[in-house]
């Protein structure tokens, strides 16, 4: 039983989505509790990925692979939990999208991966996301990330913040991308992510503060 979970850890570390899916299903079939698959299989694997990335042993391509594997395994476990009251103990749920008028996807995708690998459930809304689309998911998340490359996307960010914040004041909003800087984030009254790697820490710390 433990061997399967060890193998799942390894396949997560290798960023092997197909193998991770297979091992997660095999673990469930062998009678392992869904949440144990997460706690003893996926999570330790992702922790190793995060540590290796920190020390420069792994790079973004491996991280993206691990993020994809985490998403796939998370879906399998969600399915297995079905109607049960238990849920995967994510650090939080995080929605992200490139704001309306901006169709750049790479930076947004890297942040989504970082969040996923660091234990967040991620709702990736894609690119050219309208304020209304962010508003629609605001009641399901602890934090929202607004990504923008073009300087003109700052207007869309402002519109989104004005739409979401009054209705969901407890939802954290973090902005990032080439279009923005700390001064703009301060002016908007939101958090600023200087790079993808810092996003999970900033969101996690601020979620903890809000919960206290």
């Amino acid at each position: 039983m433990e061997e399967i979970l060890k193998q799942l850890q390894d396949s997560m570390y290798e960023g092997n989505r197909v193998e991770s899916e297979r091992l997660a299903r095999e673990a469930l079939s062998s009678g392992i509790e869904p949440l144990k698959v997460i706690e003893k299989g996926m999570k330790p694997g992702l922790t190793r990925v995060g540590d290796a990335f920190e020390t420069g042993a792994l790079f973004l391509p491996e991280l993206v692979g691990a993020g994809d594997a985490a998403l796939a395994v998370g879906n399998i476990i969600d399915e297995a939990l079905g109607e049960r009251k238990e849920t995967i103990p994510y650090k939080g749920t995080f929605a992200i999208g490139s704001v309306k008028g901006d169709i750049h996807t790479i930076g947004k995708g890297i942040v989504a991966t970082m969040m996923r690998v660091n234990g967040f459930k991620v709702i990736d809304l894609g690119v050219d996301v309208s304020p209304e689309e962010f508003l629609e998911v605001a009641d399901k998340v602890e934090a929202i990330g607004l990504s923008g490359l073009l300087s003109l996307s700052t207007k869309s960010m402002e519109e989104t913040i004005k739409k979401v914040s009054p209705k969901y004041p407890d939802v954290l909003i973090i902005i990032g991308g080439a279009a923005v800087d700390p001064a703009l984030a301060k002016a908007f009254g939101v958090l600023y992510g200087a790079d993808a790697a810092s996003a999970p820490r900033i969101v996690e710390e601020n979620i903890k503060q809000r919960r206290q």
Partner: protein, 523 residues
């Protein structure tokens, strides 16, 4: 005409292979665009334009044939001239074999007085333009105005007045007489019109601008292979809209592939070159269908992904190879070329900043790139520093000297003089000769006070000033004494246009004066 060149980045057969691959990519995958006018141009050129897809709104996939691409390549000129906005400044002869340099801008600025990084404001743009005007090795002014004017671009009152477009173009023209190469990040048609009208003023009218353009616009892609404009009425304009608007005003275009190795283009340099070439060729087809023979430049805004931070690196070794490859393809097609390494990785003025700029400038010039832009920029275009302008100007001076190569004209080998002069052991030398006096200014690079050639003791006695200390001092000196030579009449016309724009938006009296005051030099 420069002489020293890198050879062999790509062989002739490799360039043919890249061309064929780019054509195949455009035949089999195609190019995505959502601008109705540009899509119609593709149809007119004979391209297949597919059905509208769901998102981005209005986008369609366009596919090409080799004949269509060859026809567009044949129509596009190999040379054209970009003119300065004021008499007495340098013309830029794209495709002539000369190498030229221009600046970039940034979100933030290292304050020359406090040493702190801060948001740039309109007065910095005035200052920066005057420095660019003063520095002899910069041939054009980019400005990157939307970045340099946080107090304009980000203050509601200016946005409400719809003045960002007018101010962003007017201010550099009031303080720098050099030719202009810009990114037009305008939100609205009115802002775009303001920019184009201001350029027409500098050329002496709209028709005069078409004949003798004083500015060029750079257009980027959403790589891979997408040129997207506004997606909804009322939304901000996008790259395709700026291309369409500028083209109809006769603005030359720099077409800049924007792939990032390992992210928005393949991880291999060759694959990224193919993608970049395909992006240029596709856009070239539309431009030549709209205005046959319209001047274009093979640009470059590519880079590589930092596999740790996820940031873009413009001057990493693999990115430099990509730039070299794209430039090699411009030569293959006999078209002018421009590098926009954007900025370097170093975030502040230090040894890395000098090294990265020097490496980029030298490689670009040795490759025969017509125009290299990025001077003054740091941290991938996120920060700027006037001291970097000064240092870049110095580096470019050396590079321009090197790539001229070795003079081999009649008087380059003065055999008679050498025989007359005789032997060193007998006290002979050339320092006092008329030959030396006459030619040293062209044969030898003349450093400015920036480059340190002092002895250790002399340097110590002068306070051990670093390169950056000296650059700061020199920047202050230049700003004190330099006066751009922009004709008074032109300045009045530009300010007159701004005032009209203010009136159009209902801004009068003290409010209008306060805004206009910001366009003046107060140093």
């Amino acid at each position: 005409m420069t002489k020293l060149r890198i050879e062999g980045v790509l062989t002739e057969s490799e360039r043919e292979r890249i061309h064929r691959s780019a054509v195949t990519l455009l035949e089999k995958l195609g190019f995505m665009c959502n601008h109705p006018g540009i899509l119609e141009a593709f149809r007119q050129a004979g391209c297949e334009v597919g059905d509208e897809i769901a998102k981005p709104k209005g986008a369609r996939v366009v596919t090409f044939t080799e004949e269509i691409i060859s026809d567009a390549l044949n129509k596009a000129p190999s040379q054209f001239t970009l003119y300065p906005i004021a008499p007495g400044y340098r013309e830029i002869k794209f495709g002539s074999g000369e190498v030229y340099f221009a600046t970039t801008g940034s979100n933030s600025l290292w304050d020359i007085e406090t040493g702190e990084l801060r948001d740039a404001v309109l007065s910095d743009f005035v200052t920066g333009s005057r420095l660019i005007d003063a520095l002899e090795n910069f041939d054009a002014n980019m400005g990157y105005p939307h970045y340099w004017m946080y107090d304009v671009a980000r203050m509601d009152e200016y946005e409400k007045y719809g003045l960002v477009g007018a101010l962003m173009n007017a201010v550099p023209m009031l303080h720098c007489g050099k030719a202009q190469i810009r990114v037009f990040e305008c939100s609205t048609e009115q802002e775009l019109t303001d920019n184009l009208n201001l350029w027409a003023i500098t050329a002496g009218g709209k028709e005069a601008f078409r004949r003798k353009p004083t500015g060029a616009i750079m257009v980027c892609f959403t790589s891979p292979l997408s040129l997207i404009g506004r997606t909804e009425p009322g939304e901000p304009l996008g790259w395709a809209d700026w291309l369409w608007g500028g083209l109809n005003a006769g603005v030359p275009f720099v077409i800049k592939p924007s792939g990032i190795i390992g992210a928005s283009s393949p991880v291999t340099v060759a694959g990224s070159i193919v993608q970049g070439v395909a992006e240029i060729l596709a856009t070239l087809v539309a431009i030549q269908a709209i205005i046959p023979g319209h001047p274009i430049v093979f640009g470059d805004f590519t880079g590589s992904l930092d596999m740790i931070t996820g940031g873009k690196g413009n001057c990493n070794p693999e990115a430099l190879l990509l730039h070299l490859g794209l430039d090699s393809m411009a030569h293959y097609y006999s078209k002018p070329s421009l590098w926009f390494p954007g900025s370097i990785n170093a975030v502040g003025v230090d040894s890395q900043a000098a090294w990265e700029h020097a490496e980029t400038y030298l490689l670009a010039s040795l490759a025969g790139v017509n125009m290299t832009m990025s001077s003054g920029g740091l941290g991938q275009g996120m920060a700027g520093d006037y001291r970097q302008y000064l240092v870049d100007n110095e580096i470019i001076g050396t590079v321009k000297h090197i790539v001229k190569g070795i003079n081999m004209n009649e008087e380059a080998i003065p055999l008679d003089l050498m025989i007359d002069t005789g032997f060193g052991a007998l006290g002979a030398n050339f320092l006092g000769s008329e030959h030396t006096r006459r030619l040293y200014k062209t044969e030898m690079w003349r450093r400015s006070s920036l480059t340190n050639t002092l002895t250790w003791d002399a340097w110590k006695a002068q306070g051990k000033k670093t390169l950056w200390d000296r650059a700061g001092e020199r920047a202050r000196e230049l700003l004190k004494k330099h006066k751009p030579d922009i004709p008074e009449g032109l300045q009045q016309e530009i300010r007159g246009y701004l005032l009209q724009a203010l009136e159009r938006e209902g801004v009068k009296g003290d409010q209008a004066k306060r805004i206009m005051d910001k366009t003046y030099w107060n140093g």
